[in-house]
């Protein structure tokens, strides 16, 4: 029996089709069919969690950006067309856009949902409060485990009905949060009949649904972000929210809006604004000068955005690209309105972080790509993950999860970085490898080992839980004022506490990840205060004191040969002559042709090299063993010339500041030792990169901002 209906005569095909039951897998569609834009996503096993889920703008990005697999998604990393400078310029003067749709929206529905989440959110770490429906950033902890058990930052939006909270969370911390939530409220997963519907967990009163791929989230930053949005949308009808948006969009978003403020808009299909030549004419509204401080209190939100049915209705009414393209040329001004009316949500980000402030946009996923293209046609600069990381460093703040050291997500990213770096290191030939221990005294070049460092400083026992990061904002403020000398003294620190710090170089040097924050000696301080540019160098630890003394005069005796004058050619005949061995001149060339001798010589050479390799391998092995024993016996804190107080998690030359800038963590107990190290009213520490022997002086400040996503 044939499986393919085309094997039947044409006249019999209709009859035969009903009788054909094929167990065979269908043949894969042709390459042409596969590459049609309508089929490019969610089909043929391309977009799976194992390979990385595609975002709605994936196809747009994949043509222009380097894509990388991260946190189960395919995310744009950096542009192939432009370097970092265009992004930097536009984030200062224009507008930069990033696709953050990989963040997951977890919806919690139950009576008084917001207070149900309070065991997870640590109040003292928040430092932000919301009015009405504003979005705010929380720090999540596993209930009852504070100060340990950090999960990660999350953005909460509670609705005025108080029965619903929407939590936006990073995909890397999602499993830990869900695990904790399910355990705390004893939730059970319900079976979902819809294939693409949300995953739901339930107990008697609470419903938790994860709507991971139905909403897209874009982040716009830069002074012109609201103008760009205004020019790329067409409003539906008239509403006070639209007027408010238009009044704010003309001025500066940062002076008139609170952090986390939300605006609900209802717009036409974004494709109706794609045409560049038509300038959109909006209603004229007086510009807001920040006079109405509490606009939201007088205008309670009325929107259907969080109504799932309303969004789905809009999605169903969406015109396909083919239909739209067919209709568009028939109209003089193109299509101005379609049946689909799309609710979108704008969230103002005004945290005082220069390169990150702007607007977040939430839009139903099927319209996201159209909206993205619409913004691109208004010249919003697209940027990737690398630029996001750079923007965080430029804004002197930590980036979750790459800069986090405590949560599961942070630890996973640290382990991944370690394996990547180790592979790269082991791939190099032995004579090209950096001698981290024997030459530079770096005990852990590819990892932090906070627990060990904290143990060295505080003599904490390992059972107590090891290191944790202080995120209590009030405590951080008190510590900072203590460091500045405003309050009397630094209070008693909890054992095992790490403090997030910002490092700013005031001389030369470019800090890097895994750099070490060290405590300067008195001589260092004097030389820094006297403005002497004395180089402070780490000496190799293997040299004992006697050897060092012996070697010192050797360095002095070593004289560099005097260089000849430039452009001067010596006329002396002997100057360029080299002595040649007489044997080389009269080598018996007849022997070379003798095959047996040749073979013998080759074999001898082989043997010699094998022996040499074996000897080298053994000597390297013993060397490594001695290194390992030395490392084991050496204290992490005292492993180098200067005491190690902390490590850097990220660092780079700041383009806006023009100096080296880094973020990292230090042990709280080390603070007392550096508290009196003043230079121009700032606390001074020494910083050394893991690949360098030079110590650089730098200013240290406590980071008081809560980590945000």
């Amino acid at each position: 029996m044939a499986h393919d209906v085309r094997r039947f005569p044409r006249t019999m095909r209709d009859f035969a089709a009903s009788h054909l039951v094929s167990n065979h897998a269908k043949k894969c569609p042709s390459r042409f069919a596969r590459r049609k834009s309508a089929n490019s996503r969610n089909k043929f096993g391309r977009s799976t969690a194992a390979k990385g889920i595609w975002l709605s703008t994936h196809v747009w990005h994949a043509k222009r950006f380097r894509m990388c697999r991260k946190w189960g998604f395919k995310i744009a990393d950096r542009s192939y067309q432009r370097g970092f400078r265009s992004v930097l310029r536009d984030s200062n003067k224009n507008c930069v856009i990033r696709d953050r749709s990989y963040y997951t929206c977890v919806t919690i529905q139950c009576p008084d949902a917001y207070s149900k989440l309070s065991p997870f959110s640590q109040k003292s770490c928040r430092g932000q409060s919301s009015r009405g429906e504003e979005e705010e950033c929380h720090q999540l902890y596993t209930p009852g485990k504070y100060p340990y058990g950090y999960i990660g930052p999350a953005r909460f939006q509670k609705l005025t009905t108080e029965n619903e909270v929407h939590v936006w969370i990073h995909p890397s911390s999602k499993p830990q949060f869900l695990k904790a939530l399910i355990k705390y409220y004893e939730l059970k997963q319900t079976e979902n009949s819809e294939e693409l519907g949300p995953v739901e967990f339930k107990n008697s009163e609470m419903t938790v649904s994860i709507d991971s791929e139905n909403l897209s989230r874009f982040h716009l930053s830069g002074p012109k972000c609201l103008q760009k949005i205004r020019d790329s949308i067409r409003f539906v009808g008239d509403s006070p929210e639209h007027d408010r948006f238009l009044s704010v969009a003309a001025g500066s978003v940062f002076s008139s809006m609170r952090d986390g403020e939300v605006l609900y808009l209802l717009i036409e299909d974004p494709r109706t604004t794609w045409d560049r030549k038509l300038g959109l004419k909006h209603k004229k509204v007086p510009i807001d000068n920040g006079e109405d401080l509490d606009w939201r209190a007088n205008n309670p939100p009325q929107s259907q955005f969080w109504n799932r049915e309303f969004r789905e209705e809009a999605i169903q009414k969406r015109m396909t690209d083919a239909q739209y393209q067919k209709l568009n040329p028939d109209r003089i001004h193109g299509v101005v309105s379609t049946e689909a009316k799309i609710p979108i949500l704008l969230i103002i980000r005004n945290e005082g972080l220069k390169a990150l402030d702007g607007v977040d946009i939430l839009i139903p996923e099927p319209f996201a790509k159209d909206f993205w293209v619409s913004l691109q046609r208004r010249a919003a600069r697209a940027s990737g993950l690398r630029d996001e990381y750079a923007a965080h460093l430029e804004s002197k703040t930590l980036y979750f999860p790459l800069d986090d050291v405590e949560s599961e997500a942070g630890r996973a990213s640290e382990a991944a970085t370690k394996t990547e770096l180790l592979d790269k290191y082991n791939g190099k030939p032995h004579n090209r490898r950096c001698k981290y221990w024997s030459a530079l005294s770096v005990k852990y070049p590819f990892e932090y080992k906070w627990d060990e460092l904290v143990k060295d400083w505080d003599s904490v026992e390992e059972e107590s839980g090891g290191a944790f990061v202080c995120r209590d904002l009030q405590k951080l403020r008190r510590i900072e004022s203590g460091l500045k000398g405003k309050s009397e003294s630094l209070e008693e620190m909890d054992p095992g506490m790490l403090l997030p710090v910002r490092i700013q170089f005031f001389g030369r040097g470019r800090p890097k990840k895994f750099g070490m924050i060290c405590i300067p000696t008195n001589e260092d301080l004097i030389s820094i205060r006297m403005n002497r540019n004395k180089e402070i160098i780490q000496t190799p630890p293997l040299l004992s004191k006697d050897e060092e003394e012996e070697e010192e005069p050797m360095d002095v005796l070593e004289e560099t040969p005097p260089k000849g004058l430039q452009g001067f050619v010596s006329l002396e005949a002997a100057a360029n002559e080299k002595p040649i061995n007489l044997k080389w001149l009269f080598e018996e060339s007849t022997k070379m042709d003798d095959r047996t001798t040749k073979r013998k010589r080759v074999n001898r050479k082989k043997k010699e090299s094998k022996k040499r390799r074996k000897l080298e391998f053994e000597s390297r092995k013993t060397e490594m063993e001695t290194e390992e024993t030395q490392k084991l016996t050496t204290n992490y804190r005292f492993s180098a010339d200067r005491e190690i107080a902390g490590r850097l998690v990220a660092g780079e030359q700041s383009v806006l500041g023009g100096h080296g800038q880094a973020v990292g963590y230090i042990c709280a107990s080390a603070l007392r030792q550096i508290a009196s190290n003043y230079h121009k009213n700032k606390t001074v520490v020494m910083v050394r990169n893991s690949t360098s022997k030079y110590y650089h002086p730098a200013y240290l400040t406590i980071l008081k901002n809560a980590i945000q996503i």
């Binding site: 409060s129 008139s256 403020r477």
Partner: protein
């Protein structure tokens, strides 16, 4: 429930338990010939770029300074005038800029306040005479 007060009876607040977040003031103009002097501005380097602006692109520039940077803005304007040696003249105007602050209580997060603060400002109009 969240409380929102728009003005405070007293300007004072407990600095230990509250954090003041200042929103950036409104810029009157964002054109490239408007120069905003802040406490962090390096006057020497800024004089160089302003000189370039006057020589190459514009016949007039506006210098704005507010609060602690008023004197710096005036020094900057004087320096520029001196550099051009009489070919540039200046008009000075003063004004008051209203800034907005958010005061967040770290103890009770539901109590946030937004308040107004008036700051003196100076605007110098430098223009070529010939």
């Amino acid at each position: 429930m969240s409380k929102a007060t728009t003005s405070l009876t007293s300007k004072r607040f407990d600095e230990k338990n509250n954090e003041m977040r200042r929103r950036p003031p409104v810029k009157p103009n964002s054109a490239p010939n408007h120069i905003y002097i802040t406490r962090g501005t390096n006057v020497e380097s800024q004089v160089g770029s302003a000189e370039k602006l006057l020589n190459n692109s514009f016949d007039e520039i506006f210098i704005h300074g507010m609060g602690a940077s008023i004197s710096k803005a005036l020094v900057f304007a004087m320096e520029l005038e001196k550099k051009f040696g009489g070919s540039v003249k200046s008009d000075i105007q003063t004004s008051t800029v209203v800034c907005t602050d958010d005061i967040v209580s770290l103890l009770n997060l539901d109590e946030t306040e937004t308040r107004r603060r008036s700051v003196s400002a100076v605007h110098v109009h430098l223009y070529r005479t010939a």
